[in-house]
């Protein structure tokens, strides 16, 4: 024990190993907290609604649950139709307020959990493919916990440091010979091995517990006894493991990986006796296969790397579509016998490396005399070893906060001395400046010149600046070959209409597949809304993306994403501070982007509305669909055109009304 205590003190205090372990823990923890994104953002954003659905669905799919899903789906569709019908009838004066309110209340009850139901229904589609081993549960926690597939560099560096320091420090101060000649010399070597291996295991265990705690607190880790396949990443896996078992297995595999890495490094250190070379061997033995070898090959090699990555052993096969449409295996599941072979050989190699390390640090008089290997035996042993190794083969902020008039339904936007118009046919945005020829907002001659995957998908005007959203799909060729992954990058560019200066103020890759130096990694579905974005606007704090049925707010500084409970099916107006919209009950409401509070705009019930410089203009459902104007707080309502009208639009400073009677669009003078 004394030797162990002294060796621990030497390595952990003298060589600062403890500081290194703590640094690795802090870096890994901070990195996890800073970069972790939910795998299923809908499930996370509508957590309470989803939880309501889950109360009825939790567990394996059965006929009863399937029937409930179908019934609920139909009920939602019917409730939406019923509400629209009740609204139409009420504002047309066909039904009483009481009837309308009770109908709206009934529909509201059904639709209360609509968004959560959408997430549950998506899960149902997944579960129904294989109901025997795919269960309903809140998967974000487990998915996050189990799908951490990137190599933890902090762990790698910590193990590298400890293992290289353990013996090399003795060689550096020439204490190795003296230690060997003491009766407890072998115990000293064993203690070093034990401390390094123990530290590696402790680091992995603490990191696993840290991850477990993080995901348990952030998302929750319910139903650890449900099958692993309940998490989509493992959908095709044939392993009969529960989620908790899979976590324990993955954690154990990572521990083993760290132990194996430590063993290999310790052995290397007693052979090469130099810090630098030992550290290089460890880095090369891990990074070269990580970057140089295909994923499925990695998990069939008895190296520390596959165990450090771990979850690949639990995954099922993955397929990609080849040029001819054929399915090409990207990753073939590691079968139990393959795993047994790899694990067996790895364990044997680890034991051999540890034994070799202690043996090379032991006094000759303490070693049993054994017949020496013949000269032919050494190459044969090297060949055997080689066979064993190969066998399983990211300025116009002041302008942005100014009062602006933005209507998402408008086809053209007006700024200081210029206008931006959308050509519906070519889907191009054109900048028209006074005294200058019209030009595309994206003027880069290279934009779309050599690729069809480049387009401008939205524009917003504030003061003298035009902001436009570009989408660029590109083949990513960090890993050469035919199965190049593609990425779609979305950028918001600020164009100063006076100086024509351009600055990219937001940039984000929306896809989940990308490769970094050949290492594939995923970005989750946090940004999956970007391809569906049809318009956007911004202030000095946030970007607001109007997606098909929702509005997503992205904090400009923290890049945090939040879905706002605002229906985005109609026009969304923005005045630089408040966002105006029509809710499910056709009431016009305003969302204050500073206070994040929603308030009704007077008592306006509108079929359609738009924002003008003077206030709001709307088709008043309470007044026979007449066109009215009011101030932004809903007061001073004045009728400007007797109805009935279908919609109002405000473009280029001009108000136009589409009549209900004949569908004509007529200008209205304010």
């Amino acid at each position: 024990m004394m030797v162990l205590a002294y060796e621990w003190k030497k390595l952990m205090i003298g060589q600062r190993g403890l500081a290194c372990l703590l640094a690795a823990l802090v870096v890994s923890g901070v990195w996890l907290a800073a970069t972790e994104q939910p795998q299923n953002i809908a499930m996370q954003e509508h957590r309470s609604d989803y939880a309501w659905c889950l109360e009825r669905l939790d567990g394996a799919l059965n006929d009863q649950k399937e029937a409930w899903l179908q019934d609920e789906s139909e009920a939602i569709t019917e409730a939406k139709a019923a509400r629209a019908e009740a609204q139409e009838s009420y504002y047309s004066g066909l039904t009483s307020a009481e009837d309308y309110e009770s109908a709206a209340a009934r529909a509201g009850e059904v639709l209360a959990h609509e968004r959560g139901f959408d997430a549950a229904f998506q899960q149902y589609l997944y579960v129904s493919e294989n109901p025997t081993n795919r269960y309903f549960l809140e998967t974000n926690g487990w998915a996050g916990l189990l799908s951490v597939q990137t190599l933890d560099f902090a762990v790698l560096l910590a193990v590298l440091y400890l293992a290289a320091a353990a013996f090399c420090s003795e060689y550096a101060c020439q204490m190795d010979a003296l230690l060997r000649t003491t009766p407890e010399g072998r115990a000293s070597a064993r203690c070093k091995v034990l401390i390094v291996v123990g530290s590696a295991v402790a680091l992995c265990v603490v990191l696993s517990l840290l991850q477990l705690t993080f995901f348990a607190v952030k998302y929750g880790l319910p139903h650890g006894d449900y099958p692993l396949q309940s998490v989509p990443l493992f959908g095709t896996s044939e392993k009969s493991l529960s989620l908790a078992e899979a976590f324990v297995a993955a954690a154990a595999l990572r521990c083993f990986g760290a132990v194996m890495l430590a063993a290999v490094l310790l052995f290397a250190s007693v052979i090469v006796r130099k810090y630098a070379l030992t550290a290089l061997i460890g880095a090369a033995a891990t990074l070269i296969p990580l970057i140089g070898l295909p994923e499925q090959f990695i998990f069939r090699l008895p190296l520390p790397l596959p165990f450090l990555l771990a979850t690949g052993f639990l995954e099922g096969g993955r397929f990609a579509q080849g040029d001819g449409g054929e399915a090409i295996a990207v990753f073939a599941e590691v079968s139990p016998w393959e795993f047994a072979l790899v694990a067996g050989i790895s364990a044997a190699l680890t034991m051999l490396a540890l034994y070799g390390t202690v043996r090379r640090s032991t006094d000759c008089w303490l070693l049993e005399r054994r017949p020496r290997f013949g000269s032919k035996a050494k190459p044969a042993a090297a060949l055997l070893l080689a066979v064993a190794l190969l066998l399983p083969v990211t300025g116009c902020s002041s302008e942005a906060s100014e009062t602006v008039v933005y209507n998402s339904a408008a086809q053209s936007l007006t700024g200081d001395g210029f206008a931006v118009a959308l050509d519906d046919e070519t889907r191009t945005y054109t900048l028209e400046r006074e005294g200058a020829a019209a030009m595309a907002v994206e003027t880069s001659p290279l934009f779309g010149a050599f690729s069809d995957g480049e387009s401008v998908t939205g524009a917003y005007v504030a003061g003298s600046c035009i902001y436009y959203l570009t989408s660029r799909t590109q083949q990513y060729i960090d890993r050469v070959g035919n199965y190049n992954s593609t990425f779609t990058q979305f950028s918001i560019v600020r164009l100063n209409a006076d100086t024509l200066e351009r600055h990219v103020i937001f940039e984000q890759i929306a896809d989940s597949d990308r490769s970094l130096l050949g290492i594939d990694y995923t970005v989750g579905d946090t940004w999956a809304f970007l391809p569906d974005c049809r318009s956007f606007f911004l202030n000095d704090r946030s970007f607001f993306f109007v997606v098909n049925d929702k509005i997503v707010e992205v904090d400009r500084a923290a890049r945090s994403v939040q879905t706002l409970a605002i229906p985005a099916s109609g026009n969304i107006a923005f005045d630089g501070r408040a966002m105006y919209f029509v809710d499910e009950d056709s009431r016009v409401r305003a969302y204050d982007t500073q206070t994040r509070e929603v308030a009704p705009v007077g008592n306006i019930v509108a079929r359609s509305f738009c924002l003008t410089e003077d206030g709001l203009c709307f088709v008043n459902r309470l007044d026979g669909d007449a066109v009215c104007t009011c101030t932004k707080d809903g007061s001073d309502a004045v009728m400007v055109l007797e109805g009935p009208a279908l919609s109002v639009d405000y473009e280029d400073g001009e108000l136009s009304v589409t009549l209900k009677s004949d569908g004509r669009t007529v200008p209205v003078e304010l």
């Binding site: 550096a172 810090y275 140089g292 960090d478």
Partner: protein
């Protein structure tokens, strides 16, 4: 010079460095071969009806200037195949005597992948480049009208780059494409460079030679200068060797060096390359940039290891720093934040993030191509770090230049 040579021999002609050179070279060649074997459709052997054999037979007919008769001939071969296979009802036999490769679908795929698509790209490139040049000219006029001087200059520069670009010849581009997109050797270069350089100062301290060196007329700062110069020789040597090895490896694996004289923008992923060079010249430039990037990074490594007591701490610290730069650089590789690319030496090391896209940096109102700015920034930063290392180097107290305090 003698001192530099001795430092070079002492630091880099060590057995471990030489063994790593050989080992990493073998690993690199194995990786190159595996790229060809795994991804090239022409790696299907030398059989009479293999894609490899059929391709090279057809290639002789279509190589060289893209002439209308060649295009007609190619279309005459391909169109019937495309029509026959469009509804997926063609003969699926794999020993069809009327086909080149034994199967009609296979014939169509071979022609599309290796002849139709590349030739169409080459043929259309001139018009696309002309369109870019024309838009650039219009932009320059619009910018001049708006009084936007920088934009005018940028558009003019863009015009200069794209005006008159054409790809007149058709050639085999697969090898060149794979070669220019290959970056595995970068990892080996980084590991070898880091191992070679990170221990330069530490080793003298470990062997207590630092004190002895200080007492010699050429010791102290002159030795430090010699070490810096030796490292400045070693790092480019590593990149040059692996760049040459990459080229030789790809040439050997694909069995040809065909396509190296094509303009680099003949490779689709380099359509927006800002330079008008052949593939071979581009490879030389990329190797030079990689050398510049590794040299600058090497100076950073040296600065980190300047005060290390043993080799381990600086090595691990440099390893972590390099990993951070690589991850940061790779994340910004396809970003519009050009400054982020220009400031990270990884961009120079990988080359492609700077050389595959025409991007400018506004430096004093003048548009500077991103790769030129990145190279200049790296060289200036490297020189500044080298100067700091030199000034902070230990000196004999009799030395006339005292350490800056």
């Amino acid at each position: 010079m003698r001192l530099v040579w001795y430092e070079f021999a002492k630091l880099f002609c060590r057995r471990s460095v030489l063994v790593l050179f050989v080992l990493f070279s073998v690993i690199n060649l194995a990786k190159i071969y595996s790229e060809w074997d795994a991804y090239s459709f022409l790696a299907d052997g030398g059989g009479e009806r293999s894609w490899h054999t059929v391709y090279w037979q057809l290639y002789d007919q279509y190589r060289g200037p893209i002439a209308p008769e060649k295009v007609q001939r190619l279309l005459a071969t391909w169109q019937p195949l495309a029509q026959a296979t469009a509804d997926m009802t063609a003969n699926t036999a794999t020993d069809d005597a009327n086909s080149l490769t034994g199967n009609l679908y296979s014939d169509r795929n071979l022609l599309e992948k290796y002849f139709i698509d590349p030739m169409r790209y080459c043929y259309e490139y001139g018009d696309r480049a002309a369109s870019v040049a024309e838009k650039a000219r219009q932009n320059a006029e619009a910018a001049a009208q708006a009084g936007a001087l920088y934009q005018q200059r940028e558009s003019a520069a863009l015009y200069q780059i794209y005006a008159g670009r054409t790809v007149p010849d058709f050639a085999y581009t697969e090898m060149a494409n794979y070669y220019l997109n290959y970056d595995f050797s970068l990892v080996l270069v980084l590991l070898l460079g880091l191992y070679g350089v990170a221990g330069i100062f530490v080793e003298e301290r470990e062997t207590q030679m630092d004190r002895l060196l200080l007492t010699n007329p050429n010791g102290g700062s002159r030795t430090v200068l010699a070490k810096l110069m030796a490292a400045s020789g070693f790092l480019p040597l590593v990149t040059t060797w692996f760049s040459l090895l990459d080229l030789a490896g790809f040439g050997a694996a694909f069995g040809t060096l065909e396509g190296l004289d094509l303009p680099v923008y003949a490779i689709p992923s380099f359509a927006e390359a800002p330079i008008d060079l052949s593939v071979l010249q581009f490879a030389v430039l990329a190797a030079a940039l990689r050398s510049g990037g590794l040299w600058a990074l090497g100076m950073v490594w040296l600065a980190v290891s300047l005060r290390g007591r043993n080799a381990l701490v600086p090595l691990v610290a440099n390893f972590a720093l390099t990993a951070a730069l690589v991850i940061g650089g790779a994340s910004a590789a396809y970003s519009h934040f050009v400054w982020a690319k220009a400031l990270d030496p990884y961009s120079l090391l990988a080359g492609r993030p700077l050389l595959a896209q025409t991007e400018f940096l506004d430096i004093g109102g003048f548009p500077v191509l991103s790769w030129q700015a990145a190279l200049a920034i790296s060289l200036v930063a490297g020189l500044a770090i080298a100067a700091v290392i030199y000034l902070l180097s230990p000196r004999n107290t009799y030395c006339p230049i005292r350490r800056l305090r």
